[in-house]
Subunit: 199 residues, 2 copies
Amino acid sequence: MAAGLTERNKLRTRREMAEAAGRLFLERGYDATTVQDIADAAAVSPRTFFRYFPCKEDVVTAIASASMDDAIDHLGEYDENKTLRSVLTTMLRAVLAPVGDNSTRARGFQFMLRETPALRGRWLEERRKSRDRLADALAPWFGDDVDPMASRLLAGTVLLVLDEVMSRWADDPSLADPLGLLDEALRVLGEPLIPAGGQ
Amino acid sequence: MAAGLTERNKLRTRREMAEAAGRLFLERGYDATTVQDIADAAAVSPRTFFRYFPCKEDVVTAIASASMDDAIDHLGEYDENKTLRSVLTTMLRAVLAPVGDNSTRARGFQFMLRETPALRGRWLEERRKSRDRLADALAPWFGDDVDPMASRLLAGTVLLVLDEVMSRWADDPSLADPLGLLDEALRVLGEPLIPAGGQ
DNA sequence: GTCAACTTGGCAGCTTCTGCCATGATGACA
DNA sequence: TGTCATCATGGCAGAAGCTGCCAAGTTGAC
């Protein structure tokens, strides 16, 4: 439990760097903040920064993807009493609810992602990993011996929904949190994306 | 029509750089190929390379996203006699058919994308632009005054399908082209991603 | 034939990121 | 408590991506 002094110091260093980076990014922008700036603010050397975060973009994704990882992990084991819709709703709400707690910061991050191509690429890349993990977690609902195409497509589309909801929320300052936008998006997933029709 | 010598020279230079880059990337890998290498192979200076391609990754996306752009552009105007399914099928076939013509190269690119995080991020970023354009092109099929959520989700999911199909094709050397995988994926889109069920 | 516009090359410089080694702190064991 | 292996850190040098600036050569219009 004590976990050792070294271990605690490393956690603290990591947290201080992430906080300093997040603050500086929001203050002056991602590109205008150098790793040197972050290192100075966290009282470490740039060399140490790169030991904790493989690249500059990873500070942002490490901060922002943590809640997503948690939500997918807590999706839990397959339970035949829970419908696919209910577990997905629960997961998405778990991810979206905290956004309202610090909406200024969350909006800031959202806009920063939009305006910084390098960051958005890295972000989409992270999202892709989430998609794979979500697809695995959802697979049991589709049966064991079925082709995994359906679960993979659903997982990907659910993350598209999340993306869409967050983006709209960021653009509409009158919305306190993005939860209200979720229901309509989930409704769309309950109908065929391609309406029935001729060949 | 003559278009001027300068203009033709620029096109030639651009093509030579793209070809040299593509060849070198496939030969020795993306990371192991420097911009200097590409510039040498195309007999230009590195400085000129960056005048044509804003960053190294853009050579790859410029090559690979051209057919996608064409396909979306040729999706054409709204025609109420064409079903959504038919225009999407036409578009996806237009993108996937040429893959079989040079399958070795296409597989090489696919694996390169997989193994190079920076490239994949940039690729996903490009895909995102395609999604926006596709969503705009599909919007008329959803009616004018409807919320654009449905068309945006469909566009995103169609590109997920493309991604999935290409990935599976690349992994299965027995497949000449990826067209055979398309039908099943499109079938999934014709049914609700979330099966009907309780709340 | 002349001149303006433009393309290219080279150079210096910044930033991200990595390998290497010395230094100092931590923690285990006697 | 003392000793020693381990490990986190810092500093340094350097590669690679990328940009601004200016000089030189080419193109194309009059």
